[in-house]
């Protein structure tokens, strides 16, 4: 890497400015290119999409792909399904994770370190190792095509991150608060809910965003446990979009679906970038 990693130098020469500028531009292009390209494709007419050489500045635009998305497929349902599952599993993860994190941070349970380490280790299990056991349970309980079949695994998958983030957060809270509360006669649950929780709202919010993102993007369980069209979540539904007649793969509608499906997340990132970064570093650095 070029010598830009020298943060304490206050004044840079023109050369370093130039390099930095180029580097920043590269980072921007690298991060945005595929998204921008899909955005462009989603508004192109079919003829322009399949034109060779590629059209970068189309002269004609169409909303047709977006319209096709919502008319030929129950895209509103997909959005609802994704949102519903993500929100519920996020709430549950927070609801189960906060007390657990508090317990680990303040109550020093027997074997606390072991529990924390195993929670951390469990994040390393890829979904592929879990889906068979869960599939059998879903089959046995007839939970196929039921939101619960996704909500429960998503909550569990989000628990480790939730616990880790909130754990480090609780550890940083001043102990005097809790001591005062104890003296005033609050029991642990009351203290957690009435006094600490309001303080932890920022952390809860941060974790909530992260868990929402994970749940929204999840694929393998959504693919396996939901097969009815009406119940599918966005990633699976879009991956299974098919085209008719001439186009083997409907590139236009897929691009449109990508934009619609990523839009909420883009908004989240735009508005809560700082919190996301905080949450990720808190969760991972603690390892």
């Amino acid at each position: 890497m070029v010598g830009e990693e020298f943060p304490s130098v206050k004044t840079k020469n023109i050369g370093q400015h130039l390099w930095l500028g180029i580097a920043i531009a590269l980072v921007l292009i690298f991060s945005l290119a595929p998204v921008m390209w899909q955005l462009l494709t989603s508004f192109k007419v079919n003829q322009d999409i399949s034109k060779v050489p590629t059209v970068y500045f189309p002269t004609r635009f169409t909303f047709g792909h977006y319209i096709e998305l919502f008319t030929r497929r129950p895209f509103w349902r997909y959005i609802f399904n994704s949102a519903f599952v993500a929100i519920i599993s996020t709430s549950l993860a927070l609801g189960f994770g906060a007390p657990a994190a508090y317990a680990l941070a303040r109550l020093r349970p027997w074997g606390g370190r072991v529990i924390l380490t195993s929670i951390l280790l469990v994040t390393l299990f890829p979904g592929i190792l879990l889906f068979l056991g869960l599939l059998e349970i879903v089959q046995a309980l007839h939970l196929g095509n039921n939101y619960l079949a996704l909500i429960i695994p998503y909550t569990a998958i989000n628990l480790p991150l939730t616990i880790l983030v909130l754990h480090s957060f609780f550890q940083q809270l001043p102990k005097d608060l809790e001591d005062a509360a104890k003296i005033d006669g609050y029991n642990t649950w009351q203290m957690l809910v009435q006094i600490l929780l309001p303080l932890t709202v920022p952390a809860l919010f941060t974790t909530g965003i992260l868990t929402f993102i994970f749940a929204w993007n999840e694929f393998i369980f959504a693919l396996t446990f939901i097969t009815r069209e009406q119940m599918k979540t966005i990633p699976v539904a879009v991956a299974q979009l098919s085209g008719a007649s001439t186009f083997e793969i409907p590139y236009g509608p897929i691009a449109a679906a990508t934009m619609v499906g990523t839009f909420p997340l883009v908004l989240l990132v735009l508005f809560f970038q700082r919190k996301i970064v905080q949450g990720l570093t808190a969760g991972a650095v603690k390892g």
């Binding site: 991060s31 390209w37 890829p126 979904g127 889906f131 429960i152 879009v238 990132v269």
Partner: protein
């Protein structure tokens, strides 16, 4: 006398704490054991049975047969090899790229927040959707990559990225690197920001050049973080499913079929549950081995640093 009373009171409080902690931990513990623990145990158990179409999907005890079959299963070894290649290439590239981006983001410039936001974006987007986007970008007839290469005159005819074994693997690696680099760069950025500038100043005053500072200060301080990030990413990349399933489906001819795809199709396509369970067990054990070795290395490096 007063001491004994206080001691027993402390004990009581401590016991109360333990019980409360237990109650607080219980729901989370149950859920975690249920979703993470049970399937692994079940996989171990099922791996000793044959449960497939030949047994009419009834479990029939078969001892180590599934494992014996795995040894001679060319498909398994191929997918294992591909997964390893994919993971290694991906993680190395991510580390390099992530480090570079972290260094850039660590600089102070106008619009820093905005650039950081944009840099995170790839990580937040659904892998499946972006996998489709990448498949489109690498399309042999209409893709942007071919178009740019053609215009630059580097190639004469469109490259069939997703139709050639090695190229398809490269394309998927590239897409994975794109998607997960932000994760690494954020972690490294946080660590970079925690390094005190005084260290650099002192080093500079000793006559060190920027890149020397990099090697002698930055890297060693980042090392634990890098190792942790590598570990995480290794486990994730080894088990990768969405991206490849959506981009190439394991093709062409199984050239991008990583182990998770093979396991998935063994269960969901071939309905070979017992064998699939055995595959899961082996993959799990390999992961455990990798994690154990990595933490061992981590501990050693920590001790060495001290």
């Amino acid at each position: 006398m007063a001491n004994t009373v206080m001691m027993s009171k402390l004990h009581a409080i401590r016991r109360q704490e333990q019980i409360t902690a237990g109650i607080f931990l219980l729901p989370a513990a149950i859920l975690l054991l249920f979703v993470f623990g049970y399937p692994i145990v079940r996989a171990f158990w099922l791996s000793f049975f044959a449960k497939n179409l030949a047994t009419k999907l009834q479990p029939v005890f078969c001892g180590l047969d599934n494992y014996a079959r795995m040894v001679g299963d060319g498909h398994f070894w191929q997918s294992f090899w591909i997964a390893t290649t994919f993971t290694t290439a991906s993680v190395i590239l991510e580390l390099l790229l992530g480090l570079g981006i972290a260094l850039v983001l660590n600089q102070k410039f106008w619009g820093q927040g905005g650039v950081r936001t944009i840099a995170i974006l790839p990580w937040a987007l659904p892998t499946a959707l972006m996998g489709l986007a990448w498949a489109w970008i690498f399309n042999d007839q209409f893709g942007v990559v071919n178009d740019i290469l053609l215009r630059l005159g580097i190639i004469k005819t469109g490259i069939n990225w997703l139709g050639e074994p090695t190229l398809a693997l490269l394309a998927t690696i590239f897409a994975d690197v794109w998607k997960t680099t932000p994760f690494i760069s954020i972690l490294l950025l946080a660590s970079l920001q925690s390094i005190s500038p005084d260290l650099y100043e002192a080093h500079a005053m000793d006559g060190a050049k920027p890149w020397q500072s990099f090697y002698q200060i930055t890297l060693p301080l980042l090392a634990p973080q890098i190792l942790i990030a590598t570990l995480f990413r290794f486990a994730q990349a080894f088990g990768i499913f969405d991206l490849i399933a959506v981009m190439t489906g394991g093709g062409p001819g199984g050239a991008t079929e990583v182990i998770s795809l093979y396991i998935y199709s063994t269960v969901m396509r071939y309905l070979d549950f017992g064998y699939g369970a055995a595959l899961m067990v082996v993959t799990f054990l390999l992961l455990v081995l990798a994690v154990a070795s990595a933490s061992f290395l981590l501990n050693k490096s920590r001790i060495a640093a001290k």
